[in-house]
């Protein structure tokens, strides 16, 4: 079975033939029209896809009711829009009708002063179509470069096929008042007031029209346009604070299927491998990180990368052999930003911080001789060892619970950085099978000493 639901999706024109003057015969009929073009704007931050369905219709002189109905899929009726592309045509949309006791139906009343053909655009929101970026990174054997491939998986669970669609993938956070899926499930397009009206005398006619529509054959799934020998290009563009990725050519979004399409591929992204010890974030393990910059120099262009899962592999030979090195989830990576991929703890690198000496000094007492403050002096050694076969750069972060401290006597580090008032970082490079120790002293001020710290002599 290609689809669980064989969906009916048809566009009908119920038109009234005006036969010379006020005396006219009225014929209700349904004209199945072919889609000329479908555009799908699939949003990432919400379960929302904007479908723009362009068709050509023939309008007779007089009032033309244009009926649109759907089943087996969900459409937010409050988002339905019907537009005539050429505003110079003698057409006017006088009103939109949501018939009583008929779910999933809308009728536009189009008045024509002259018979004509017109291109119309039907647009609506529908849930159930998703896209999800994910990345594959293959590290070189020496871990100095990686091949980064970004792909999007476009998945259609809407219950509806969208053949030969132009697909736009939209990133950025949009503000919504209601979930589109909820709006699509409402029994009445805009809800209902407390009181009920009477039955609609047009009910039978509408039912007949609907039966006609539902007896129509479903659209045939059409062939995709000729494929190019290159992967389908994805054009990136900005719209305000949103990024839009547009797939080149047409793409059939078949219900139930998902497609993986490459949107970025860089053969040789320079990477730096480093190890991070941060007990406040990772506990006692030393995390292995791979960092790269999202910029032109890396071959990644000048656009942000949407967030997604990253699977990292490590090349082990020149014959395509590789092992799985770890996975991470990348958040949105703005252009020019350096990003760190975490590959999990590396047992070959160890970092052991130790307090080698502890003392309480500068005890202070208040006027009643109660203990009111003191300094804690800790002499630290951080023992770092590299049991791997490669040189390792290790960043060691330390976080203190309050900013009332002084650090002194730092030895053994390659770099030191005070990140903020509570955090600092050491960086060291350790050769294979090598060890390195960092020594420093932290004086922490407690009680009244926090107010007197400027009087503390530096150690």
């Amino acid at each position: 079975m290609m689809q669980t639901f064989r969906l009916f999706f048809s566009f009908s024109l119920i038109f009234i033939l005006m036969c010379g003057g006020p005396a006219h015969a009225r014929i209700d009929t349904a004209v199945l029209t072919e889609t000329r073009q479908i555009e799908a704007y699939i949003y990432r931050s919400a379960d929302l896809t904007l479908i723009k369905d362009t068709r050509t219709l023939y309008f007779a002189k007089g009032m033309n009711p244009v009926r649109f109905s759907w089943s087996g899929t969900r459409i937010d009726p409050t988002s339905l829009s019907f537009d005539i592309s050429d505003k110079s045509l003698p057409l006017e949309i006088t009103q939109t009708q949501f018939p009583a006791r008929e779910k999933n139906q809308a009728i536009w009343h189009v008045s024509a002063t002259q018979p004509c053909r017109a291109e119309v655009v039907l647009s609506y929101f529908t849930p159930g179509i998703f896209w999800q970026p994910h990345y594959t990174a293959v590290l070189s054997e020496d871990r100095t470069r990686m091949k980064l491939t970004g792909q999007v998986r476009v998945e259609n669970r809407s219950g509806m096929d969208y053949p030969d669609a132009t697909v736009h993938l939209v990133t950025g956070k949009i503000h919504l008042l209601d979930r589109i899926a909820d709006l699509a499930n409402q029994p009445f397009p805009y809800g209902r007031p407390e009181t009920r009206g009477g039955d609609n005398p047009q009910q039978d006619m509408v039912a007949r029209g609907k039966a006609l529509l539902e007896s129509a054959p479903a659209l045939m799934i059409q062939s995709e346009k000729a494929a190019s020998p290159a992967p389908r290009a994805i054009t990136k563009s900005r719209a305000s604070d949103y990024m839009v990725y547009t797939l080149d050519g047409q793409k059939s979004l078949l219900n139930g299927w998902s497609d993986r399409l490459t949107f970025v591929e860089a053969e040789s992204v320079p990477v730096e491998t480093l190890h991070v010890f941060d007990a406040s974030r990772f506990g006692n393990g030393v995390m292995q990180m791979v960092s790269f910059t999202n910029d032109k120099g890396s071959g990644l262009g000048s656009f942000p990368l949407p967030g997604g899962a990253v699977k990292v592999f490590q090349s082990i030979d020149a014959d395509g052999g590789m092992i799985f090195a770890g996975s991470d989830t990348a958040d949105y990576i703005p252009s020019g930003k350096r990003h760190h991929l975490s590959l999990g703890p590396d047992p070959r690198i160890t970092v052991v911080p130790k307090v080698m000496k502890y003392a309480k000094t500068h005890l202070t007492f208040d006027k009643k001789n109660n203990l009111s403050g003191f300094d804690e002096v800790r002499t630290w050694v951080i023992e770092a060892a590299n049991f791997s076969d490669h040189p390792a750069r290790i960043d060691i972060f330390q976080t203190l619970p309050h900013p009332h401290f002084a650090i002194s006597g730092i030895q053994g580090q390659d770099e030191f950085e005070r990140i903020d008032q509570n955090r600092f970082k050491f960086s060291i490079r350790v050769s294979p099978a090598g060890k390195k120790n960092i020594h420093y002293t932290i004086t922490t001020y407690q009680g009244d000493r926090q107010w007197q710290q400027k009087s503390v002599p530096s150690s």
Partner: protein, 401 residues
């Protein structure tokens, strides 16, 4: 049609993974595969299958295939049934000129158990490709057997790799790669477990020690209802200058055997070895001895330098403490003991009758050699400073911050 390809493949086997290539006229897409123009290509058996086992990461399977491609756009289908795969981690990598063969895109059918790649080829060709995936249920364990000589001076370490295949996919002939140098061939059926020995190029160095930790051991064992015994075992270390192809030891259970002087092999215990990198050390506990008795007694506590507030409440004071250690070796052989004890807070030595090494500010390590049937007694006297008695008492314990 792609769905039909998937169905076709899945019907062909109850469980398993299958790859096939479908050559179609360039320009047609998946639904068009049902057309008369479609000709299903060969169902290639992989030339080689590699199971890559890396430390602490899932097993990765790499299949080498020769896939016939026609000029233009080809469909290469890969489906699985009864196998759990992460479809985002299934990679198809052509091993040819990237300009002549390119993977364009992939599609996944509604049942989510297959992938169909569109592969462009500039010519009719048979192209080597690697299919890589991470099947759930395929993993490995390592177990060790350590055989210690009668004098307990050397240890022979054997390792076995346990390959467990509960992935749903049999592997008739696979090359299993544990690390750069440990590669072997095997076949393994679904729901089968195989054990394979692999060599450890160089045995680690070992030292037998008894390890007494004051934090966990009773201080007065002779007055306990049952004799607890002092843990003993072997500290193993790969020397830093180990041969190049000596690799790290993966985590696993170690069963320890002793070859006694009569030539018997005695099981003496087991322990869990965590990841042990080259050059690192680990203490494998194998049992407890009741022939060495270690007693710790507090002999004296003096409060000094007592400071009170105006109401007479003690604010701060120091203590001088004397702890006595009594070590009895009732055996007829010597014993090497590692004694670990802790002194918390701010302290300084006063009269320490035995040499010690500071592991950190509060942890003392004493390495003690006892001769056969020797009893040794020594005192450690130290002063704890600035003990808070009224306010800030939480600072009598040192925190790591």
């Amino acid at each position: 049609m792609a769905a039909k390809i998937g169905s076709f493949l899945m019907k062909s086997r109850s469980f398993g993974i299958m790859i096939c290539s479908a050559l179609v006229t360039a320009g047609l897409i998946l639904p068009a595969l049902v057309s008369a123009d479609t000709r299903l290509g060969i169902l290639p058996q992989p030339d080689a299958v590699h199971i890559r086992l890396s430390n602490q990461n899932p097993a990765m399977v790499q299949e080498h295939h020769q896939i016939s491609l026609g000029k233009g756009i080809n469909q290469v289908a890969f489906s699985w049934s009864g196998v759990r795969l992460d479809p985002d981690a299934v990679l198809l990598t052509p091993l040819s000129d990237p300009e002549s063969v390119r993977v364009l895109s992939a599609a996944m059918p509604p049942d989510g158990a297959g992938l169909i790649w569109q592969v462009y080829s500039s010519n009719d060709a048979v192209v080597p490709m690697i299919l890589s995936y991470l099947p759930a249920g395929l993993d490995s364990l390592v177990t060790y057997t350590a055989t210690v000589n009668a004098r307990e001076t050397a240890l022979d370490l054997d390792a076995k790799l346990i390959l467990r295949n509960f992935s749903g996919q049999p592997y008739e002939s696979a090359t299993v790669r544990l690390d750069l140098d440990t590669v072997f061939s095997t076949q393994i059926q679904d729901q089968e477990t195989r054990q394979v020995s692999f060599p450890i190029p160089q045995n680690p160095e070992m030292t037998k020690i008894l390890q007494w930790d004051g934090q966990t051991m009773p201080h007065d064992p002779e007055n306990q209802d049952t004799a607890v015994g002092v843990p003993f075992g072997y500290e193993i270390t790969f020397p830093v200058n180990a041969v190049r192809d000596t690799f790290d030891l993966r985590p696993g259970n170690v069963r320890i055997f002793l070859e006694d002087v009569q030539g018997r092999t005695l099981f003496t215990g087991e322990d869990f070895l965590p990841f042990l990198a080259k050059g690192d050390s680990f203490f494998l506990e194998t049992g407890r001895t009741r022939d060495v008795i270690i007693t710790k007694r507090r002999m004296k506590t003096d409060d000094i330098q007592v400071r009170r507030n105006d109401k007479g409440t003690i604010q701060v004071f120091d203590q001088i403490i004397t702890d006595r250690f009594i070590l009895k070796n009732t055996r007829t052989t010597p014993a090497d003991i590692r004694l670990i004890d802790r002194i918390t807070g701010q302290w300084e030595p006063v009269d320490m009758a035995h040499a010690y090494t500071l592991e950190d500010h509060e942890t003392l390590r004493l390495d003690i050699h006892l001769d056969a049937e020797e009893t040794r007694t020594f005192d450690l006297t130290y002063k704890i400073l600035n003990i808070f008695a009224d306010k800030f008492t939480q600072y009598n314990q040192v925190t790591y911050q």
